[in-house]
Amino acid sequence: MSQAELTAAHTAASFNEDSGVDSGLTPEEKRQSKRNLRRRKLIATAFVIPLIVFVLIAFIAPIGTMLYRSVYHPTVAQLIPETLQALQSWDESGNSIPDTATLNVFAKELHYLAKERRSGKLAEEINRGLPGSSSTIKSSARKLKKLDEATLTSEGGEHLLAAKKQWQDVRIWRTMKSSGEIFTDSFYLTATDLTRNEQGEIVARDTNIYIKLFAKSLKIALLITFLTAAIGFPLAYYLATAPAKVANTLMVFVLLPFWTSLLVRTTAWIAILQTNGVVNDFLMALHIISEPIEMLYTQFSTVIAMTHILLPFMILPLYSVMKGIDPSYFRAALSLGAKPLSAFCRIYFPMTLPGLSAGALLVFIISIGYYITPALVGGTDGQMISNIIAFHMQSSNNWELAAALGSILLILITLLYWIYDRLVGVSNIKLG
């Protein structure tokens, strides 16, 4: 039974005791004891409240903001409110572009956006719905900027159509109308490689990027989990069966990497794996290879560096579970003539499963959202989902898409976290 469950059981027990069921107490005593319980609850809560408030503001609210941003997107509505108003009456399922009055309104709004140097923002937004349209908007904006208001009011539409032939295409108007919606699922669609077709139905996009990346991240995380388990298990077993003094000394070698900065460890792997690095030099000195192997900036370097970084998270829970297993079971099986392999598989291994699952889940949870190491050693090939989130936050400035991708990742993590809590209990994470 996990510690959390024990505590929960304890809570139930003490509640029963306090509520005085069949305890033969007087009503006054019962009331007194209920009051006491309430008071104790209040005191306990009072201790926790400051942190709850702090975490709500400092951590939960930001996460909430991110979730909200993945569906709330008023930018276009703020940039061209009048055009969107005029587009209300336009039938986007037809094949004709909006009427001249609407075009005039848009030409005027685009003119002012260009003057305020905000037309680039509109171009960026529309381009997301209709790739390639940003140049249409930007160069038209540059031309319309020079016209005066009177001309724009009467013949802005004509100038617009003359500026770029793409304005004859209904798709750009459809995109403008749909990007004008303040609450949208479009970022979630993009994040799952879907899109809406002209009839408004949800269909697969031509390019398949994000699902592939999620799949790749899952694959890398699974691989790392497997590797840490495969090499962590023998070491944990060795430590758990070694004499206490030896085990404690060797444990330092597990804990020192654990305590060493992530960036230090990543730096070390760069030094080791680079073209002129330690591994290549070594292999070439031994004449095993004649040309250096490309190891850095690949998926391989991401996997090996992350395996190294996350290994302690596997070893610590395994070790603590193995410590608790009475070695005499295994020995008994052996001394009774069981083959070591079958004794191991049938007797010892099942007993280590709590530690193994705790370690595996933790490693999996941490690795799936990893950012720094893939960013530094992963090249193009070793990038994971976090890296594309960072890319949309920092490079393409598509914050809403980043938020949508982040929300999907968060749902996945929450699910895993919930499983972890059920199986292991969150407060039992081994920190050394």
């Binding site: 005191i43 009072a46 975490v55 903001t65 060493t260 960036l263 080791i272 950012y371 969150v426 050394g432």
Partner: protein, 283 residues
């Protein structure tokens, strides 16, 4: 190695190969950290061993990259920032986390399990998500690009570790001691500092060290939230690794390993002490 009598050849071979594997894994854990130590004394501005180094030519080694750290304003600022932000975040995380852990350890705490899961979630949610969310939210509050914002963010990331270690220290705690103390007329604060605190101190200190190292090592939130004035050591290393790799980073890395080793030894000492306190070997 001594083997029981019933061990046959295959048993022994199995045990030997187990030992070999275990040592190989230990080497895998330690060697990458050890390898950067000599490289940080490389006289050449690269990350690789030179022939001179392999021949142990003293001229191939130099302390110049360490001198570079001291002479570079950016590194000095980064070091100051790392300690300042780390210390401030640790204080907040330790105070709030310790109180919460005490409250949570009370059996009477309502919704205990759910609250625990929420309070520990900063440790589980991928940093990129936390950082993106904080970027959105803290910018609205005007906290992005400020020391306060970074400190609050790091404090939030550090609290789970304090809760876990203090919670573990409290696992054997007998609350009848508190009742006894209060019952004998001691004030709540006296009871807190004289009864509870001494028993959980090792947990509190190791929790605060965890909170400190969490802040000290954190770079993702810094990347999103900090301005040029709040650059920390990991931030400086990150941009160094992305832009221009030179052994100054290795020299910093070696110094960080030393810091980690010191923190680790402190923690291990405290753990041993805490164990003895809980099992009653120390009065």
């Amino acid at each position: 190695m001594q083997f029981p009598k019933y061990f046959n050849f295959w048993h022994k071979l199995g045990m030997h190969s187990l030992r070999l594997t275990a040592w190989a894994v230990l080497a895998f854990l330690m060697l990458p950290i050890l390898v950067i130590i000599p490289l940080s004394f490389n006289v050449e501005p690269y990350f690789s061993f030179t022939e001179g180094m392999l021949a142990f030519d003293p001229d191939a080694y130099s302390l110049k990259w360490y001198a570079e750290i001291i002479n570079d304003d950016k590194w000095i600022l980064a070091i100051k920032n790392s300690f300042l932000i780390g210390a401030a975040a640790t204080v907040i995380a330790t105070v709030l986390g310790t109180l919460a852990a005490i409250g949570l350890s009370r059996a009477d705490m309502p919704l205990q399990r759910m609250i625990m899961a929420i309070l520990l979630s900063p440790m589980i949610v991928p940093l990129i998500i936390t950082a993106a969310g904080m970027y959105f939210f803290y910018t609205q509050l005007g906290l992005a690009g400020s020391y306060l914002g970074v400190i609050i963010a790091h404090a939030a990331l550090g609290t789970p570790f304090v809760i876990i270690t203090v919670n573990a220290a409290l696992s054997g705690f007998d609350y009848s001691l508190v009742r006894a103390s209060l019952g004998m007329g001691a004030s709540p604060s006296y009871t807190f500092f004289k009864v509870i605190m001494p028993l959980i101190r090792p947990g509190v200190i190791s929790g605060s060290l965890f909170a400190f190292i969490t802040s000290f090592d954190e770079v993702v939130v810094i990347l999103f939230l900090a301005g040029p004035e709040q650059r920390t050591i990991p931030r400086q290393m990150f941009s160094g690794l992305r832009e221009q790799i030179n052994p100054t980073i290795l020299a910093v890395a070696v110094l960080l390993v030393v810091v980690s080793a010191l923190l680790l030894l402190t923690i291990e000492y405290l753990r041993a002490r805490g164990e003895r306190i809980r099992t009653g070997q120390i009065s």
